[in-house]
Each structure stands twice: as C-alpha cells, then as structure tokens.
C-alpha cells in the first residue's frame, strides 16, 4: 500500500493535489468528494475490503460504483469477475512504480471484458503512461505538478506496438 494510505487518513486528502487524465483529456474526477454531505451519492467509491464485506448492498444501489485494488491483487482470489459489468471504475493503486503486477492485473481485467474506467493511481511515473495505456488503463491519476502537455505526449510515446493490446 502507498505511504499516503499508511498515514491513516481515510478521507484521501492527498487527492486535492492530483489531476485526472481520462481518455487523453484532463477531466474532473466525479468520484472525488461525491460522498461529502450526502447519504446517497451518485458516485460511490470503495476499497477492496469494503467490496468484500458489502458487495450485496453496494450492487443494489443506483450509484456509479468504483473499487480500488492494490496492484498486487490476485484477480482469482477476489470475488469480482462475475460483477465486472456492474462496476464503473476500477482503480489500481501502485505502491511503487516498479511493481509490474498492476500491469498484468489491468490486462487481465480487460481480457475478462471489463469495459469501465480503468484507472492507474499511486506511485506511477510519466514514463510508464504509454505502457499502462497499452495494458488497458484509460485513466491516470497524476500529481498536479505535472505538465498536461508532457503527460499527453508521454501517452503517445509510441505509435504502434508489436503485441496485442487494449
């Protein structure tokens, strides 16, 4: 898990200095703060732990559901594959940028037909964006200090790949 989480703040305060790039555009993150001041948010995001405990209830509500998975999650150990079509956002959180497990996890999710937003968060660096994108990520949470043009360029580092990709 990232240092940020270790600090122990459940409110994900760190997100204020983050920007979200989705489908090659700078966007607002609809999940951010959506739960503030409301019982029934339109966008609901949960941890893997919460998902495991409250799966039934989470699926009955009308909200757009987001789940955050650590990059080292084993897809076959977490009860998720049957519900991929009911989930709108899966965030994969990298604790270090050299943890390649998140790349495979993303590729597997796409392989199993997940079509929602697949977001890379945590310790990723710009120089990985193209590979992340080719593994199926279509959204990236990055430090607000990064220059958006450089980000968009990094996403286009290569015009083609030798391998099948998403």
């Amino acid at each position: 898990m990232s240092n940020i989480n270790k600090v122990g703040s459940p409110e994900r305060v760190y997100k204020t200095d983050k920007i979200l790039i989705k489908n090659t555009d700078l966007c607002n993150d609809p999940w951010r703060d959506s739960e503030k001041n409301t019982e029934k948010p339109i966008y609901k995001s949960v941890s893997l732990c919460q998902w495991r405990q409250e799966r039934g209830e989470l699926l009955t509500e009308e909200w757009a559901l987001g789940i955050t998975l650590p990059a080292d999650s084993d897809l076959y150990e977490i009860d998720l594959l049957d519900d991929l079509d009911k989930i709108d956002l899966i965030s994969i959180e990298f604790s270090t940028f050299t943890d390649g497990r998140g790349f495979s996890l993303a590729a597997q999710l796409r392989q199993y037909g997940f079509t929602g937003e697949l977001r890379a968060t945590g310790a990723i660096i710009l120089d990985q964006l193209y590979y992340l994108y080719r593994c199926g990520f279509n959204a990236f949470e990055l430090s607000a200090n990064e220059d958006v043009d450089i980000i968009l360029n990094a996403l286009k580092a290569f015009s083609k790949g030798y391998q099948p990709g998403w």
Binding site: D99, F103, S104, Y130, K160
Partner: protein
Amino acid sequence: MYVYNDIDKQLLRERVTQFRDQTQRFLKGNLSDDAFLPLRLQNGLYIQRLAPMLRVAVPYGMLSSTQLRKLASISRDYDKGYCHITTRQNIQFNWPKLETIPELLKELSEVEMHTIQTSGNCIRNVTSDPLAGVAADEIIDPRPYCELVRQWSTLHPEFAFLPRKFKIAISGATQDRASIQFHDIGLQILENEHGRGFRVFVGGGLGRTPIKASLLRDFLPERDLLSYLCAILRIYNQQGRRDNKYKARLKILVRATGIESFAEKIEIEWLRIRDHYPELQEEAINNMQNYFSSPNYQTLDVKTVEGELNRLTTDLLEPSQRAFKRWLTRNTGEHKIPGYRTVTLSLKPTGIPAGDITDRQLQAVADLADRYSFGEVRTTQQQNIVLADVASSDLLELWLAAKQYGFTSANIGTMTDITCCPGGDFCALANAKSIPVAEAIQRRFDDMDYVYDLGELSLKISGCMNACAHHSISHIGILGVDKKGAEFYQIMLGGSAGDIAKPTVGKVIGPSFSAADIPEAIAIILDVYVDKRIEGESFIEVISRLGLRPFKDALYPARAVTLKSNSTEKTLGVNI
C-alpha cells in the same frame, strides 16, 4: 537476415526520442535517480566503476557488415576505440559519456540497432545457436522464431517491470549451442506428427543458484508460442518474489512451486489467455522464414577443393602451412552445404581481454564478411565471431587476411579460448578481477601442442556470483570470491551445457586459491586428467567416470591424508 520494415523503424525512432527526453530531464534534475534508474537500464545503460557502460542488443547474435562498420565508427567517435562482445552475444561500450548517448542511439538506429531491454528487469535479448541456419546437425533454423519472439518481447507493455531479468533462448539443432536449459525459458524446436512446435524448458539459470531448467511441456504447437509465453510471463510477473532480489528469478519460483504445480498454473492461465490471443499464423511464420533463406551458395567442385586443402596440409609442411593446418582443424567447422565451412575468428589471443575488439578489427571483420561470407557474421557465447558461410576454396586466402588482424589464434574450443567477464577491472559488482587471471592462464599454457593434446576443454571465469561468464556450466569454471577483502578464486569442475540430454552444473572442488596460485592449480588438474585418461577420453568424460576425488586429492594433498584418516569426506567440496 531480418530487415526492418517501416513500423520497426518508426518504433526505433520513437524510442530514441523518448530516451533523449528522459536523459535531458535527468541531466536537468527533473527526473530523479530512482526514476531514471529502471528507464536507463531498459536502455542498456549501467553506471559502472569507471564510466557508464552501454550494452547494444545483437538479436540472436546476427550482425551485418553495415552494422559492424557502424559499431567501428561508434567505438572511435564515442568510446576509446574498442568495444566488447559479451557472453550473451551482445556488444558493450565501456566509456561512452551520458550526454552523448542519445546521439549514439540515433546512430545505432540508422543501422537497425538499439539497446532496448539489454538490461533491467524485463525480457532480455533472445539468444540462439551461433551456427543457426548452417549447422550440419540442425533440424530447424531457429532464427525466424527468434525474430518473432524478439518483436513480441520488444517494448512489451505488460512485462517491463518484472521481479527480475528474464532470458529466453531458442535452439533448433541436436547439439545445444545456446545453453537453452540455463535460461528462464528454453525453447527447443522440433517436428513430429502434430507438426512443428517446441519443447519448452523453464526455470533454468546461472547466477548464485545455478539450476538446470525443468521440462514444462513436451510439445507446444508453433501457433501457440506467443500466448504460451504470455502465460508464463504473466504468472512470473504476478507471483515471482519481489521482496528479495536474490530470490526473484523465475527459477526460484519454479523450484518453490514444484514443476508440476507450476505447470498446472501455466496451463490454467494459458487456457484463459489463449482464446483472446492472436495465433501465430502460418503466413507470418513463412514470411519470417523468407528473411533467413539460404544465401546464394556456389556449386563447388568439392573433390578438387578438398584435394587442394589436403595437399596444403599434408607432407613436408612449412611452418606457415603447419599454422594453417592447426587453424583449419581448430577454427573451422562443418557446414550443411558440401564445400562450405564455418570459420570462427578468435578474439582470444594471449593478453587481450576476451571478447574485446578494436574499431580497426571491426572494420576488418566487416570486410572479411563481405568478401567471404555474404556480408554477415554471428557473435558467440564464447565471445568470438563466426563467419558462417565460407567456401573451402577461400579458406587459405581468408586465413592470410584474418591473420593480419590477429584473428587466427588457433585455439577455438581449447582451454585457452577462455570465456571471461569484465570482472573487477570494469564491473561495479565484481568480487575479484577476472581478466588478469585469464591472461595468466593463457601465458602458463602457451605450448599449443600440449593444449591441443588436451582436446575439447572449456574454461570460463566470472568475477562474481552473477556468473556472467557461465563458469558453472564450464568444464573448468573459475569464480572470483571475496575473502575478508582479498580476491580469491574458487574452482568448479565438470559443468557442461552442450548435450541437451544431460546438461550439468559443475561442482566446487574445494577451498579457493589466490590469483597467483590459479595457473598452478589448473596445471595440477590437467596433469590428473592426462594421467587418468584412457585412450581418447575427453576431460569431461574422465570427470564423469571418476568424479572429483582424484582431482581433489591432487589439489589438496594434505587434506587428502587427513580426510582419509578420519573419513569425513563429505566436508570437501564446500567453499571455505
């Protein structure tokens, strides 16, 4: 040889641009050391003891004369006038300046070369048989498959941050000249009633825990090659250890899991992947094979040519004829086409670090290749260069020309054809120097008649446990160790990789020696061999017949006495 298409060229240009940008950001302080590290490693750039070291990929060892000339000019313009052939068939520059590397990469890209994935925790350059396509014992040419795997693994988005490095080797001959069972994945091409496919070995490796690979699958149809590789890599990526870099290689995962459960995991993952994965189409394979079709061999009058060679090398020999004859015996080999030979240019003259080659020599190799071998050469695991397609009628002329450049030391396959890593003179990871030890051995054994009499004998020296020289699969292996800050050397005997049926890891013979004592220790070992051999037995055959005992007794006489007296023989063979 494979020729880049527009896509290959485009990708290479993009990679050069990407790395130029990364280097500039690093030099300006906008990219941290930690972030730059894996990025530069994936571009073959190490920061070494004295300067950066840049490793250039030579896919499965093939080089064209155009590429050789470019390497010559780069050695001159960016380095100190020489480069180094590694034991993984690659080329290393030892002294380039960081600021100039983006430009160097651009020059390399002009001749379809690069440094992509030559280091770092990713899929490394695919290696193969240096005699691919010409070996008399070849069943199927591995190069088209090597190139398909090279492309598949190049810039692979999913496998750029593996637990550790990952090496794939492919062979298509009866004899294994690529040591495939000492790679993370070893592929042996074969043909049977189901068509063409691969025997897949997995989890081999050298390093501090040398392990022979296990058989993962007896037959994999060729169409499934890439999806199957993907399954192995994915399981490794997700389940290989990341907490301890010494336990992070695939071999450790395979051993910890057990080959049967590992095979089961791969099978399950593969079945999940296979239907989503494009098959390797016959057409794609055929297209690739076209790049490696045979060159335009002349029809030689074999009888006349061989008659002439015979005449040159029998009766009343002048000294120079004798030298030619030795070279012919040691440095040329059988070819699948009658009248043709393979020729190994030796990069092991006494006193030159193994595998080092100057700009002038690179140029000369290019000229020799153009004149005598269809403009192509191959680098070898033993750090030499092979001209694969030489007409026998050209051999004398070639020998005379190669002699001027110091390529004709007639020692290929003998004990002075020493494979040696850069060791303590260059490498930041070394425990001990290796180059001076190699030289001392070459000087001690300068009587070539004695060396020839010993016959086929491999001797390899690594400066540390990383085993870059593959000492643990050498008949005689020497390993640099650190003993309280002093450089010492451990000797292993009996390793070998060439026989696909029984590749063997060598065994440590006993306590280590100082550098000064190594030549004498080797001399003692060789005396034992000469003494014990029965008519025509090779060094390795004597070891498999007698074990290490007689060698130990001769090397450690005092111990032999004490040990015999209290019969605690088991304590030997452990490094003290």
